[in-house]
């Protein structure tokens, strides 16, 4: 190489600089996830919202009709009943699931023989496929072949030929599907809260006991405050799962009798897929979004003020 001559350094473009810029590095790592979320979450959601403003039918496109689907639904008694029942279904089932789940968790938190085995047994309703348990409940609540009816007849409380119209009576059918949802949902809450209880330091209980705290006070002032963040997360999930339930209703009642057990999700399917009115079905599904957002917001703001979120004491 001749003195004084040297190869010019390669041109660095703005793009290549950006590729290695430390400030941008985090963004580059996030891109794959962002693409995944946009394609599989945001895009279908936006498409659904767009569809809800069209008169799209199965097998052919639709034209933009603005809020007409929503206007129709606001005067549609089936939709209003489904919305009301979805709220009742979610509220009743969630409250009972929480109460029983918490009670079970506290019981399972005690030392007892065969602890691991009993905990595994408790999980069974949760791990059985939903459709299978729903079909089992369909039999359990069958008007003529119900095990309950059979037991009551054997016990002499019901005469032979007398039945309880579990799934044929609108109110009883609503009670039956709520019962089935509770049975299925309790283990999830119980086991998750149990995990939370395991993290509570025994020394806190010892200190409380030394201070003369009663059982109730130990729960109220030690267990409950420390469990609150877990409760918030679990109940958010539980409410979301319950509100968007579909399988259980579809396998047990198909939304019947007379649409009495129709949830928003099942009605959306009935109108959109079976009835072929995709636009209307999408509108019903989109109408669920505000309720779901509200449930998320409640837990979000509930958790905002938690110290552990700022890393002060990490649960």
């Amino acid at each position: 190489m001749a003195a004084g001559s040297f190869a010019a350094p390669p041109e660095t473009t703005a793009w290549s600089r950006l590729m290695v810029n430390r400030n941008w590095l985090g963004f580059w790592f996030m891109v794959p996830t962002m693409i995944f979320l946009v394609f599989f979450l945001a895009w279908p959601l936006l498409l659904g919202m767009w569809m809800s403003m069209t008169d799209m039918r199965i097998g052919r496109g639709g034209v933009f009709i603005g809020l007409e689907n929503y206007q129709y639904l606001l005067e549609d008694s089936d939709f209003l009943n489904a919305t009301a029942f979805t709220l009742v279904y979610t509220a009743v089932a969630s409250v009972v699931k929480f109460a029983v789940g918490l009670y079970l968790a506290i019981l399972l938190n005690n030392h007892m023989p065969f602890k691991a085995f009993i905990r595994a047994i408790v999980l069974i309703p949760f791990i059985v496929p939903t459709v299978l348990s729903a079909v089992a409940f369909w039999w359990i609540f069958d008007t003529q072949f119900s095990i309950f009816t059979w037991l009551l007849q054997k016990a002499g409380i019901l005469a032979k030929g007398q039945y309880i119209n579990w799934l044929g009576d609108p109110f009883l059918a609503q009670c039956s599907v709520i019962f089935a949802n509770i049975w299925r949902g309790i283990p999830f809450i119980a086991i998750t809260l149990l995990a939370g209880l395991q993290t509570v330091s025994p020394s806190l209980y010892e200190a409380a006991t030394l201070d003369g705290a009663s059982g109730w006070q130990r729960f109220r002032f030690v267990t409950y405050p420390l469990l609150t963040p877990i409760i918030a997360v679990v109940m958010t999930f539980s409410v979301l799962f319950t509100f968007t339930d579909f399988q259980l209703i579809w396998a047990m009642t198909r939304g019947g009798p007379v649409n009495a057990t129709q949830l928003m999700a099942t009605l959306s399917y009935q109108r959109g897929i079976l009835g072929g009115r995709l636009g209307e079905g999408a509108a019903i599904a989109t109408a669920m979004v505000p309720f779901l957002l509200a449930a998320i917001m409640v837990s979000w703001f509930g958790l905002q003020r938690r110290k552990w979120q700022q890393g002060e004491s990490n649960d």
Binding site: Q144, G168, R254
Partner: protein, 441 residues
């Protein structure tokens, strides 16, 4: 194309094995000759996926699989058959139509092809060929198969649904036979209830039996959901009369009918809890095929009758049509056509119709003389199912709107909401009217 499952693969293999077993048999020889002469030539290398309704009569299914195997042996086209319950057929077909992927042939229920007519292959040539060869189609088949002048599906068969009753219980209630008027029929149901052997008809989500019952109630009282110009006329004195009649009947029923699906009445009748219902011949076929003496006893003690005639003064039945449609996304439309034509040729169709033992009724006039209609007198009423049936959407056209109204259970729900006391007659009619007006706008 649908992703082949282990089950469908096995079925496909069974079909191929069956085809192997058929080689050299008369059926295959005939099939090969047919394939040579047939105007419908499958594409080279064609394979077909066919989704059908789940059978209620085992022998029918076995005979159908023989047809599939013979077709494969004759043409080399492998056909994979999957079956789904009645309730799941329409949603699956709808989703496939919308996404443009799925089975090549759907063999579905009622007016499903009319939900997405532009997704169905034009099969007018197949329909014309079969119609000319076999004495023409019955009117109801034309109604279900055609849209305007174009055939969008081949209505392979009709499933007749008629009154199934226990002979001894009807006699014990003081009747020699099922009365053929709606007024007399109500008296019979009252008498059956008094004897603690009640009747029952579905008012729940039963695609087949529920719609059959609800439309019979409506039409027998001279009411309809729309008139000839597709104007909604459900709110009428005739509908109110039908509602009141339905309520009187409902009060005599066994409990639980508002929750029934298509299988509920079969189950209850065969358990001996139910004295009278409406159904295909599948209850009788199942009882006959059973080795259980109790079931045999039920088979011997049951018979079938036509639907009673109401103020309309003529038969007002809606029978379940099974139209077979090829989807426009298929790569092998000619293979689809060849299969449809092959299946309805007399050499295939006659044994299949016999195997169905009355569960299926032919839609081509030439099959009136099939021995199945004379072999057992209890089959006889089902022979007329396709000739007596009215069409979904009656008095208006059978179109996408009529199909939607049926798929949405609007008429079933109208009767159910009044019978269960959730709505007044006026309220139930108003609700149905509003939903129908939206569909028929």
């Amino acid at each position: 194309m649908t992703k082949p499952t282990r089950r469908s693969a096995l079925k496909g293999l069974a079909g191929v094995a069956g085809a192997g077993a058929l080689v050299g048999s008369g059926m295959t020889e005939w099939a090969k000759a047919w394939a040579q002469a047939s105007p419908f030539k499958p594409e080279a290398g064609a394979t077909l996926n066919l989704m059908r309704w789940r059978r209620f009569v085992v022998a029918e299914d076995e005979q159908f699989n023989k047809i599939v195997a013979a077709f494969t042996a004759a043409t080399g086209v492998r056909v994979t058959v999957t079956s789904e319950s009645f309730d799941d057929m329409q949603p699956k077909a709808s989703v496939a139509a919308n996404t443009g992927t799925g089975p090549d042939i759907f063999w579905s229920l009622y007016s499903t092809p009319h939900l997405f007519p532009n997704r169905c292959v034009d099969v007018s040539d197949v329909a014309d060929y079969l119609g000319k060869k076999y004495g023409g189609w019955v009117p109801v088949a034309e109604a279900y198969g055609k849209l305007g002048n174009k055939w969008i599906a081949i209505p392979a068969a009709i499933n007749g649904g008629y009154i199934n009753y226990r002979i001894s219980q009807v006699k014990a209630a003081g009747f020699n036979e099922v009365p053929q008027t709606t007024a007399g029929f109500l008296e019979l149901c009252k008498a059956l209830k008094a004897k603690n052997t009640p009747a029952g008809f579905p008012l729940g989500r039963a695609s087949g039996d529920g719609n059959s019952y609800a439309y019979w109630l409506l039409w027998s009282h001279n009411a309809a959901q729309v008139d000839e110009n597709s104007k909604v006329i459900i709110r009428s004195a005739e509908t109110e009369a039908a509602l009141n009649y339905a309520k009187s009947l409902y009060d005599t029923f066994i409990q639980g009918t508002a929750a029934w699906n298509d299988a509920s009445n079969n189950r209850l009748f065969l358990s001996g809890e139910l004295g009278l219902t409406a159904n295909g011949i599948s209850i009788y076929a199942a009882a006959n095929a059973s080795n259980d003496p109790k079931q045999k006893e039920i088979a011997a003690d049951m018979d079938h009758a036509y639907w009673p005639i109401g103020p309309a003064g003529k038969p007002t039945e809606i029978q379940l049509c099974f139209p077979m449609m090829a989807m426009t996304y298929t790569k092998f439309p000619n293979a689809c056509k060849a299969f449809m034509a092959f299946m309805l040729e007399a050499d295939q169709f006659n044994p299949w119709l016999e195997a169905a033992a009355g569960y299926l009724t032919h839609t081509l006039n030439a099959f009136d003389n099939n021995p199945v209609w004379t072999k057992d007198p209890k089959n006889k009423v089902f022979r007329d199912a396709s000739k007596r049936s009215l069409v979904a959407g009656h008095r208006g056209k059978l179109d996408e709107k009529a199909a939607t109204a049926m798929a949405d259970f609007i008429v079933v729900d109208m009767f159910a909401s009044f019978c269960t006391g959730r709505e007044t007659a006026a309220g139930a009619m108003q609700l149905a009217e509003r939903q129908l007006q939206r569909i028929y706008r």
